[in-house]
């Protein structure tokens, strides 16, 4: 009967998601315990997740495949947080921008180990490099869209090149989060947030205010 089939299909899909989630969480947990992703074994991950090794390979091709899933989740979270910036209205103030940038820091920091693993593994895994590149391209095009819209509506200066300025800003954020923000806390973190806000504000908005 069709309804039963649909039902069992959705249960299977649910279970599938559940196990994928469990594996992702376990891998991230182990990485937080200071293990480098290269040294982390599938054995350790499945033990932490409480599933069998065979089950692991039903859901992921290999450890790199799992990291790709983690990287996608990670960028998705950053994109959601960053949409607060792209959604800023025409009359937004510098404190509004700072608040939006702060949301990006907040999305990044709890999962910084994923980013560290991506950087580590991308040095020898071309597939991961490509995936990360395409995720970054998505981010850049969102920023570029925001700049173009701001220029049309007059709240962003008209003489910046939307696409390339977006690319410089995005790469600055990507590397700065990894190199600077990930290891900062307290007042140092606040100052980094101030500086990122000022750079973005002066580059795009100040001249249109």
């Amino acid at each position: 009967m069709p309804s039963i089939t649909r039902n069992s299909q959705s249960t299977r899909a649910q279970r599938r998601e559940e196990i994928r989630d469990r594996l992702r969480t376990s891998a991230e947990q182990l990485m937080k315990g200071d293990e480098s992703y290269t040294e982390l074994s599938v054995e350790r991950i499945v033990r932490e997740a409480g599933i069998s090794r065979a089950t692991f390979y039903v859901y992921f091709e290999d450890k790199s495949d799992l990291l790709r899933a983690l990287a996608e989740d990670f960028i998705e979270r950053i994109l959601v947080a960053a949409s607060a910036w792209w959604g800023l209205p025409a009359d937004a103030t510098k404190p509004d921008l700072r608040f939006a940038m702060g949301a990006i820091f907040d999305a990044y920091l709890p999962h910084k180990v994923v980013m560290a693993a991506v950087v580590e593994v991308a040095s020898y895994d071309a597939g991961l490099r490509t995936l990360f590149g395409s995720l970054l391209d998505r981010t850049i095009s969102e920023v570029a869209k925001h700049i173009t819209l701001g220029q049309q509506e007059g709240f962003i200066v008209s003489d910046v090149d939307p696409e390339r300025t977006a690319a410089w800003l995005t790469w600055m954020a990507e590397r700065g989060l990894y190199q600077l923000v990930a290891s900062a806390n307290g007042p140092a973190l606040e100052r980094l947030l101030d500086a990122l806000t000022d750079i973005t504000w002066n580059t795009l908005y100040e001249g249109a205010r």
Binding site: A126, G154, R164, W168, L169, M172, E174, Q179, L192, E206
Partner: protein
Amino acid sequence: MPSVTRKSHGNRAQRRDEVRQRLLSVVEELLIAGESYAEISVERLVSEAKLSRSTFYVYFEDKGDLLRAWFAQVIEELEDAAGGWWKLDGSATPEDLRAALSQIVKTYRPHTTLMAALYDMSSYDSTVRDEVTRMMSRNAAGLRRHIQRGQKQGWIDPGLLPAETSVWLTWMAERGQHQMVRVADDEEVERLIDAYAGLVWNTLYAFAPARNGGRKTARPRK
């Protein structure tokens, strides 16, 4: 005799440079062909460069040593280029800034392939990582002093935090070179430099008190 010793030292250094150049050309070819530095063996390197394995080890401890020797030289070139930016003062125009930044980008550009290998290596080799970090700190410190001087003299936005602004901008430059300039053709490089110079100009100089009276009157509101 002292003079003989010096001469033979000179020869050795010269020979080392030659060997390094030959090996690095091979490395560059292999990298451009899509291989990663981690995967290229010393055997492979020497055979492609038509050198013996023992010659390699006369001059270099290991594969990392080869890249580190090259890096030391590039750092100097880059610092010279960066000096052209840091010496700008209140009389500088957007065109002056663009020329200075263009000089930095174009000094770096021929080295981007090997630089990429170096960054890859820094993810697993702590010596290389320390050297990259040292280079970045030196660059950021140069920019920080430039910002502080400009703030004191009124031609850089006084509201900016000098140290933090410098580190963000320094990583932006590094990452942009690595990710964008490396794969861009000549025309695209010019457009990337335009955007880079525009961004730096707006961030640091455009809203300084000495320019158009600073924030309030920097640009008319649209």
